[in-house]
Protein backbone atom coordinates (compact mmCIF):
# COMPACT_ATOMS: atom_id res chain seq x y z
CA UNK A 1 0.00 0.00 0.00
CA UNK A 2 2.84 2.31 0.84
CA UNK A 3 4.55 2.61 -2.54
CA UNK A 4 1.17 2.92 -4.25
CA UNK A 5 0.15 5.83 -2.03
CA UNK A 6 3.57 7.41 -2.59
CA UNK A 7 3.08 7.12 -6.32
CA UNK A 8 -0.32 8.80 -6.01
CA UNK A 9 0.97 11.77 -4.02
CA UNK A 10 3.97 12.30 -6.32
CA UNK A 11 1.68 12.08 -9.36
CA UNK A 12 -0.75 14.54 -7.76
CA UNK A 13 2.11 16.98 -7.20
CA UNK A 14 3.49 16.60 -10.69
CA UNK A 15 0.08 17.01 -12.31
CA UNK A 16 -0.73 20.05 -10.16
CA UNK A 17 2.58 21.64 -11.16
CA UNK A 18 2.09 20.79 -14.82
CA UNK A 19 -1.46 22.19 -14.73
CA UNK A 20 -0.11 25.40 -13.21
CA UNK A 21 2.35 25.78 -16.08
CA UNK A 22 -0.30 25.08 -18.71
CA UNK A 23 -2.73 27.60 -17.16
CA UNK A 24 -0.09 30.34 -17.39
CA UNK A 25 0.58 29.44 -21.03
CA UNK A 26 -3.18 29.68 -21.62
CA UNK A 27 -3.44 33.14 -20.08
CA UNK A 28 -3.18 33.18 -16.28
CA UNK A 29 -0.71 35.69 -14.73
CA UNK A 30 2.93 34.52 -14.53
CA UNK A 31 3.73 32.11 -11.69
CA UNK A 32 -0.02 32.07 -10.96
CA UNK A 33 -1.32 28.91 -12.58
CA UNK A 34 -2.90 28.29 -9.22
CA UNK A 35 -3.13 30.56 -6.20
CA UNK A 36 -5.90 29.89 -3.73
CA UNK A 37 -5.46 33.25 -2.02
CA UNK A 38 -5.29 35.30 -5.23
CA UNK A 39 -8.21 33.46 -6.81
CA UNK A 40 -10.48 33.75 -3.76
CA UNK A 41 -9.54 37.44 -3.72
CA UNK A 42 -10.49 37.73 -7.39
CA UNK A 43 -13.85 36.08 -6.66
CA UNK A 44 -14.43 38.45 -3.73
CA UNK A 45 -13.83 41.29 -6.17
CA UNK A 46 -16.05 39.87 -8.87
CA UNK A 47 -19.04 39.87 -6.52
CA UNK A 48 -18.24 43.38 -5.34
CA UNK A 49 -16.92 42.65 -1.86
CA UNK A 50 -13.94 44.83 -2.79
CA UNK A 51 -13.51 47.31 -5.65
CA UNK A 52 -9.86 46.84 -6.63
CA UNK A 53 -10.51 46.95 -10.37
CA UNK A 54 -7.40 44.95 -11.33
CA UNK A 55 -8.26 41.81 -9.35
CA UNK A 56 -11.88 40.91 -10.05
CA UNK A 57 -12.87 37.66 -11.75
CA UNK A 58 -14.72 34.46 -10.90
CA UNK A 59 -11.83 32.01 -11.18
CA UNK A 60 -13.04 28.68 -12.57
CA UNK A 61 -10.03 26.97 -10.97
CA UNK A 62 -11.57 27.45 -7.51
CA UNK A 63 -14.93 26.09 -8.67
CA UNK A 64 -13.16 23.09 -10.20
CA UNK A 65 -11.07 22.40 -7.11
CA UNK A 66 -14.14 22.28 -4.88
CA UNK A 67 -16.31 20.25 -7.24
CA UNK A 68 -13.44 17.90 -8.17
CA UNK A 69 -13.05 17.16 -4.47
CA UNK A 70 -16.81 16.68 -4.11
CA UNK A 71 -16.98 14.17 -6.95
CA UNK A 72 -13.92 12.23 -5.78
CA UNK A 73 -15.11 12.20 -2.16
CA UNK A 74 -18.54 10.95 -3.24
CA UNK A 75 -17.02 8.30 -5.49
CA UNK A 76 -14.82 7.04 -2.67
CA UNK A 77 -17.63 7.22 -0.10
CA UNK A 78 -15.64 9.85 1.78
CA UNK A 79 -18.18 12.66 1.56
CA UNK A 80 -18.76 12.91 5.29
CA UNK A 81 -20.57 15.91 6.63
CA UNK A 82 -18.89 17.17 9.76
CA UNK A 83 -18.65 20.52 11.50
CA UNK A 84 -18.94 22.46 14.71
CA UNK A 85 -15.27 22.51 15.64
CA UNK A 86 -14.82 26.15 16.68
CA UNK A 87 -16.29 27.58 13.45
CA UNK A 88 -16.06 31.24 14.46
CA UNK A 89 -12.41 30.90 15.41
CA UNK A 90 -11.75 29.09 12.14
CA UNK A 91 -13.34 32.03 10.32
CA UNK A 92 -10.95 34.39 12.10
CA UNK A 93 -7.93 32.17 11.39
CA UNK A 94 -8.96 31.93 7.73
CA UNK A 95 -9.22 35.72 7.66
CA UNK A 96 -5.65 36.19 8.92
CA UNK A 97 -4.23 33.41 6.76
CA UNK A 98 -5.54 35.44 3.84
CA UNK A 99 -4.03 38.65 5.23
CA UNK A 100 -0.64 36.94 5.43
CA UNK A 101 -0.98 35.49 1.95
CA UNK A 102 -1.90 38.82 0.38
CA UNK A 103 0.98 40.62 2.13
CA UNK A 104 3.33 38.00 0.65
CA UNK A 105 1.31 37.84 -2.62
CA UNK A 106 0.41 34.19 -2.76
CA UNK A 107 -0.86 31.19 -0.84
CA UNK A 108 1.55 28.35 0.03
CA UNK A 109 0.76 26.69 -3.31
CA UNK A 110 1.72 29.82 -5.24
CA UNK A 111 4.82 30.13 -3.05
CA UNK A 112 5.96 26.73 -4.38
CA UNK A 113 5.00 27.77 -7.92
CA UNK A 114 6.94 31.05 -7.56
CA UNK A 115 9.91 29.08 -6.29
CA UNK A 116 9.75 26.86 -9.37
CA UNK A 117 9.86 30.00 -11.50
CA UNK A 118 13.11 31.07 -9.84
CA UNK A 119 11.57 33.75 -7.59
CA UNK A 120 13.96 33.84 -4.62
CA UNK A 121 11.56 36.03 -2.61
CA UNK A 122 9.54 32.85 -2.30
CA UNK A 123 12.57 31.12 -0.79
CA UNK A 124 12.66 33.73 1.98
CA UNK A 125 8.92 33.18 2.40
CA UNK A 126 9.44 29.42 2.54
CA UNK A 127 11.80 29.83 5.50
CA UNK A 128 9.18 31.99 7.23
CA UNK A 129 6.48 29.48 6.36
CA UNK A 130 8.55 26.69 7.92
CA UNK A 131 9.12 28.81 11.03
CA UNK A 132 5.38 29.43 11.38
CA UNK A 133 4.67 25.73 10.95
CA UNK A 134 7.31 24.92 13.57
CA UNK A 135 5.59 27.19 16.09
CA UNK A 136 2.31 25.52 15.17
CA UNK A 137 3.77 22.06 15.85
CA UNK A 138 4.91 23.26 19.28
CA UNK A 139 1.35 24.37 19.99
CA UNK A 140 -0.02 20.99 18.88
CA UNK A 141 2.48 19.15 21.06
CA UNK A 142 1.49 21.44 23.93
CA UNK A 143 -2.13 20.33 23.55
CA UNK A 144 -3.65 22.86 21.14
CA UNK A 145 -6.94 21.64 19.71
CA UNK A 146 -9.99 23.36 18.24
CA UNK A 147 -12.09 20.53 19.66
CA UNK A 148 -13.99 17.78 17.92
CA UNK A 149 -16.33 18.18 15.01
CA UNK A 150 -19.72 16.48 14.96
CA UNK A 151 -21.93 14.83 12.41
CA UNK A 152 -24.20 17.28 10.61
CA UNK A 153 -26.98 17.06 8.08
CA UNK A 154 -26.03 16.58 4.43
CA UNK A 155 -27.29 20.05 3.48
CA UNK A 156 -24.55 21.62 5.65
CA UNK A 157 -21.86 19.84 3.68
CA UNK A 158 -23.54 20.77 0.41
CA UNK A 159 -23.08 24.50 1.01
CA UNK A 160 -19.60 24.88 -0.53
CA UNK A 161 -20.33 22.69 -3.56
CA UNK A 162 -23.59 24.65 -3.91
CA UNK A 163 -21.77 28.00 -3.78
CA UNK A 164 -19.36 26.67 -6.39
CA UNK A 165 -22.16 25.68 -8.76
CA UNK A 166 -23.78 29.09 -8.23
CA UNK A 167 -20.47 30.80 -9.05
CA UNK A 168 -20.16 28.69 -12.19
CA UNK A 169 -23.62 29.78 -13.31
CA UNK A 170 -22.70 33.41 -12.63
CA UNK A 171 -19.43 33.03 -14.52
CA UNK A 172 -21.03 31.53 -17.59
CA UNK A 173 -24.00 33.90 -17.58
CA UNK A 174 -21.75 36.88 -16.70
CA UNK A 175 -24.56 39.22 -15.66
CA UNK A 176 -23.79 42.93 -15.78
CA UNK A 177 -23.81 43.36 -11.99
CA UNK A 178 -20.57 41.37 -11.64
CA UNK A 179 -17.16 43.03 -11.82
CA UNK A 180 -14.64 41.46 -14.20
CA UNK A 181 -11.24 43.14 -14.56
CA UNK A 182 -10.40 44.55 -17.95
CA UNK A 183 -6.74 45.12 -17.03
CA UNK A 184 -4.26 43.81 -14.45
CA UNK A 185 -3.95 40.25 -13.09
CA UNK A 186 -7.73 39.80 -12.95
CA UNK A 187 -7.95 40.25 -16.71
CA UNK A 188 -5.32 37.59 -17.36
CA UNK A 189 -7.13 34.31 -17.52
CA UNK A 190 -7.00 30.91 -19.10
CA UNK A 191 -10.18 29.95 -21.03
CA UNK A 192 -13.03 28.96 -18.71
CA UNK A 193 -13.17 25.32 -19.85
CA UNK A 194 -9.42 24.77 -19.46
CA UNK A 195 -9.32 26.41 -16.02
CA UNK A 196 -12.34 24.42 -14.89
CA UNK A 197 -10.93 21.10 -16.09
CA UNK A 198 -7.55 21.83 -14.47
CA UNK A 199 -9.31 22.67 -11.21
CA UNK A 200 -11.47 19.54 -11.37
CA UNK A 201 -8.46 17.29 -11.98
CA UNK A 202 -6.33 18.83 -9.25
CA UNK A 203 -9.28 18.96 -6.84
CA UNK A 204 -9.99 15.28 -7.35
CA UNK A 205 -6.33 14.33 -6.97
CA UNK A 206 -5.90 16.53 -3.91
CA UNK A 207 -8.92 14.87 -2.30
CA UNK A 208 -7.59 11.42 -3.14
CA UNK A 209 -4.08 12.11 -1.82
CA UNK A 210 -4.77 14.70 0.95
CA UNK A 211 -2.24 16.99 -0.79
CA UNK A 212 -1.43 19.83 1.61
CA UNK A 213 1.36 22.40 1.55
CA UNK A 214 1.36 22.75 5.34
CA UNK A 215 0.91 19.07 6.13
CA UNK A 216 4.17 18.09 4.44
CA UNK A 217 6.45 20.15 6.64
CA UNK A 218 4.28 19.69 9.72
CA UNK A 219 4.34 15.88 9.51
CA UNK A 220 8.07 15.88 8.71
CA UNK A 221 8.73 17.98 11.82
CA UNK A 222 6.38 16.10 14.13
CA UNK A 223 6.57 12.48 13.00
CA UNK A 224 9.47 12.33 10.50
CA UNK A 225 6.72 11.45 8.02
CA UNK A 226 7.72 12.78 4.59
CA UNK A 227 4.69 11.47 2.69
CA UNK A 228 2.94 14.80 2.01
CA UNK A 229 6.25 16.52 1.30
CA UNK A 230 6.48 14.31 -1.79
CA UNK A 231 3.49 16.17 -3.22
CA UNK A 232 5.12 19.49 -2.40
CA UNK A 233 8.31 18.32 -4.14
CA UNK A 234 6.33 17.06 -7.14
CA UNK A 235 4.72 20.47 -7.68
CA UNK A 236 8.08 22.23 -7.42
CA UNK A 237 9.74 19.82 -9.82
CA UNK A 238 7.02 20.03 -12.48
CA UNK A 239 6.90 23.82 -12.31
CA UNK A 240 10.69 24.09 -12.41
CA UNK A 241 10.97 21.81 -15.45
CA UNK A 242 8.05 23.58 -17.14
CA UNK A 243 9.65 27.00 -16.65
CA UNK A 244 13.06 25.79 -17.83
CA UNK A 245 11.52 24.24 -20.94
CA UNK A 246 9.41 27.30 -21.69
CA UNK A 247 12.26 29.74 -21.11
CA UNK A 248 10.37 31.48 -18.30
CA UNK A 249 12.75 30.46 -15.49
CA UNK A 250 14.14 33.69 -14.05
CA UNK A 251 16.35 33.27 -11.00
CA UNK A 252 16.55 36.28 -8.71
CA UNK A 253 14.78 38.66 -6.37
CA UNK A 254 14.11 41.66 -8.63
CA UNK A 255 11.47 41.97 -11.31
CA UNK A 256 9.57 38.81 -10.43
CA UNK A 257 5.93 38.65 -11.59
CA UNK A 258 3.30 39.72 -9.06
CA UNK A 259 5.87 39.79 -6.25
CA UNK A 260 7.80 42.26 -4.10
CA UNK A 261 11.27 42.10 -2.56
CA UNK A 262 10.53 43.04 1.07
CA UNK A 263 12.34 40.08 2.67
CA UNK A 264 11.35 40.70 6.29
CA UNK A 265 7.66 40.85 5.46
CA UNK A 266 7.81 37.98 3.00
CA UNK A 267 9.21 35.97 5.90
CA UNK A 268 6.74 37.20 8.53
CA UNK A 269 3.62 37.10 6.38
CA UNK A 270 4.21 33.51 5.36
CA UNK A 271 5.10 32.61 8.95
CA UNK A 272 1.59 33.82 9.82
CA UNK A 273 0.15 31.73 6.98
CA UNK A 274 2.08 28.66 8.20
CA UNK A 275 1.01 29.12 11.81
CA UNK A 276 -2.62 29.84 10.97
CA UNK A 277 -2.79 26.91 8.58
CA UNK A 278 -1.42 24.47 11.15
CA UNK A 279 -4.04 25.73 13.60
CA UNK A 280 -6.72 25.14 10.94
CA UNK A 281 -5.38 21.65 10.19
CA UNK A 282 -4.36 22.39 6.59
CA UNK A 283 -3.29 24.96 4.00
CA UNK A 284 -5.79 27.07 1.98
CA UNK A 285 -5.85 24.44 -0.79
CA UNK A 286 -6.63 21.72 1.75
CA UNK A 287 -9.38 23.87 3.29
CA UNK A 288 -11.01 24.18 -0.14
CA UNK A 289 -10.75 20.42 -0.70
CA UNK A 290 -12.18 19.63 2.74
CA UNK A 291 -14.98 22.16 2.17
CA UNK A 292 -15.80 20.29 -1.03
CA UNK A 293 -15.76 16.99 0.85
CA UNK A 294 -18.43 17.85 3.40
CA UNK A 295 -16.39 19.61 6.09
CA UNK A 296 -18.40 22.69 7.04
CA UNK A 297 -15.64 23.96 9.37
CA UNK A 298 -13.43 24.30 6.31
CA UNK A 299 -16.29 26.01 4.50
CA UNK A 300 -16.32 28.59 7.29
CA UNK A 301 -12.51 28.95 7.09
CA UNK A 302 -12.76 29.56 3.33
CA UNK A 303 -15.49 32.18 3.87
CA UNK A 304 -13.15 33.80 6.42
CA UNK A 305 -10.48 33.91 3.73
CA UNK A 306 -12.87 35.55 1.26
CA UNK A 307 -13.81 38.23 3.79
CA UNK A 308 -10.12 38.63 4.68
CA UNK A 309 -9.35 39.21 1.00
CA UNK A 310 -12.06 41.84 0.75
CA UNK A 311 -10.63 43.62 3.82
CA UNK A 312 -7.15 43.47 2.35
CA UNK A 313 -8.21 45.36 -0.76
CA UNK A 314 -10.74 47.68 0.84
CA UNK A 315 -8.28 48.93 3.45
CA UNK A 316 -4.96 48.74 1.64
CA UNK A 317 -3.50 45.74 3.47
CA UNK A 318 -2.56 43.84 0.32
CA UNK A 319 0.92 44.32 -1.06
CA UNK A 320 1.66 45.22 -4.67
CA UNK A 321 4.71 44.80 -6.88
CA UNK A 322 6.03 48.03 -5.34
CA UNK A 323 6.04 46.50 -1.85
CA UNK A 324 4.12 46.04 1.37
CA UNK A 325 1.94 48.69 3.00
CA UNK A 326 2.05 49.96 6.57
CA UNK A 327 -1.52 48.77 7.06
CA UNK A 328 -0.57 45.31 5.77
CA UNK A 329 2.40 45.07 8.12
CA UNK A 330 0.28 46.14 11.09
CA UNK A 331 -2.38 43.59 10.10
CA UNK A 332 0.21 40.78 10.06
CA UNK A 333 1.32 41.71 13.59
CA UNK A 334 -2.32 41.78 14.70
CA UNK A 335 -2.72 38.37 13.05
CA UNK A 336 0.06 36.93 15.20
CA UNK A 337 -1.55 38.41 18.31
CA UNK A 338 -4.95 36.96 17.43
CA UNK A 339 -3.40 33.56 16.68
CA UNK A 340 -1.67 33.67 20.08
CA UNK A 341 -4.94 34.40 21.87
CA UNK A 342 -6.73 31.59 20.02
CA UNK A 343 -3.83 29.24 20.78
CA UNK A 344 -3.80 30.06 24.48
CA UNK A 345 -7.56 29.72 24.77
CA UNK A 346 -7.55 26.24 23.20
CA UNK A 347 -4.88 24.31 25.03
CA UNK A 348 -6.11 20.90 26.09
CA UNK A 349 -5.47 19.98 29.69
CA UNK A 350 -3.66 16.67 30.15
CA UNK A 351 -5.94 13.97 31.44
Amino acid sequence: MNWKERLWIVAAGLITGAAAIVLVVLGNPSNMGFCIACFLRDIAGAVGLHRAAAVQYIRPEIIGLVLGATVMAAARKEFRVRGGSAPAQRFVLGFFVMVGALVFLGCPLRMVIRLGGGDLNALVALVGFAAGIFVGTLLLKGGFSLQRNQKQRVIEGAVMPGISVALLVLLVAAPAFLFFSTEGPGSMRAPIAAALVAGLAVGALAQRTRLCMVGGMRDAMMFRDFHLLLGFAGIFLAVLVGNLMGGTFNLGFEGQPVAHTDALWNFLSMALVGLGSVMLGGCPLRQLILAGSGNSDSTVAVLGMVVGAAFCHNFGLASSTSGTTLAGRVAVVIGFAVAAVIALANMRKEK
Binding site: E78, R148, C212, D219, D225, G281
Partner: protein
Protein backbone atom coordinates in the same frame (compact mmCIF):
# COMPACT_ATOMS: atom_id res chain seq x y z
CA UNK B 1 -5.46 -1.64 26.97
CA UNK B 2 -5.45 2.11 26.52
CA UNK B 3 -8.10 3.44 24.13
CA UNK B 4 -7.70 6.84 22.45
CA UNK B 5 -10.80 8.55 21.10
CA UNK B 6 -9.56 10.54 18.10
CA UNK B 7 -12.94 11.00 16.45
CA UNK B 8 -13.68 14.42 15.01
CA UNK B 9 -10.21 15.86 15.58
CA UNK B 10 -8.36 17.89 12.94
CA UNK B 11 -5.09 16.72 11.39
CA UNK B 12 -2.63 15.82 12.80
CA UNK B 13 -4.15 15.37 16.26
CA UNK B 14 -5.17 11.71 15.76
CA UNK B 15 -1.58 10.75 14.87
CA UNK B 16 -0.19 12.89 17.68
CA UNK B 17 -2.46 11.21 20.25
CA UNK B 18 -1.47 7.83 18.81
CA UNK B 19 2.21 8.70 19.09
CA UNK B 20 1.78 9.78 22.71
CA UNK B 21 -0.18 6.64 23.58
CA UNK B 22 2.31 4.32 21.85
CA UNK B 23 5.19 5.94 23.72
CA UNK B 24 3.43 5.13 26.98
CA UNK B 25 3.24 1.48 25.91
CA UNK B 26 1.52 -0.86 23.46
CA UNK B 27 -0.98 -2.28 22.71
CA UNK B 28 -3.12 0.76 22.05
CA UNK B 29 -6.59 1.14 20.54
CA UNK B 30 -7.50 4.27 18.59
CA UNK B 31 -11.03 5.14 17.56
CA UNK B 32 -11.30 7.27 14.40
CA UNK B 33 -14.17 8.39 12.17
CA UNK B 34 -12.49 9.43 8.95
CA UNK B 35 -10.28 7.69 6.44
CA UNK B 36 -7.67 10.45 6.44
CA UNK B 37 -6.92 9.86 10.13
CA UNK B 38 -7.06 6.11 9.63
CA UNK B 39 -4.54 6.24 6.77
CA UNK B 40 -2.23 8.58 8.69
CA UNK B 41 -2.25 6.38 11.79
CA UNK B 42 -1.62 3.20 9.79
CA UNK B 43 1.28 4.92 8.01
CA UNK B 44 2.68 6.04 11.36
CA UNK B 45 2.43 2.50 12.76
CA UNK B 46 4.10 1.05 9.69
CA UNK B 47 6.99 3.51 9.88
CA UNK B 48 7.45 2.72 13.57
CA UNK B 49 7.60 -0.99 12.74
CA UNK B 50 4.42 -1.70 14.71
CA UNK B 51 1.63 -3.96 13.56
CA UNK B 52 -1.84 -2.49 13.19
CA UNK B 53 -5.26 -3.88 12.45
CA UNK B 54 -8.61 -2.19 11.82
CA UNK B 55 -12.18 -3.17 12.45
CA UNK B 56 -15.45 -1.33 11.97
CA UNK B 57 -17.46 -0.59 15.10
CA UNK B 58 -21.23 -0.83 15.35
CA UNK B 59 -21.46 2.98 15.13
CA UNK B 60 -19.61 3.00 11.82
CA UNK B 61 -16.33 4.25 13.27
CA UNK B 62 -13.02 2.45 12.87
CA UNK B 63 -11.12 0.92 15.78
CA UNK B 64 -7.39 0.59 15.08
CA UNK B 65 -5.36 -1.73 17.30
CA UNK B 66 -1.61 -1.12 17.38
CA UNK B 67 0.69 -3.66 19.02
Amino acid sequence: MKTVDARGLSCPEPVLLTQQAVKAGTPVEILVDCRTAQGNILRYAQEQGLSASCRETDEGDTLITIS
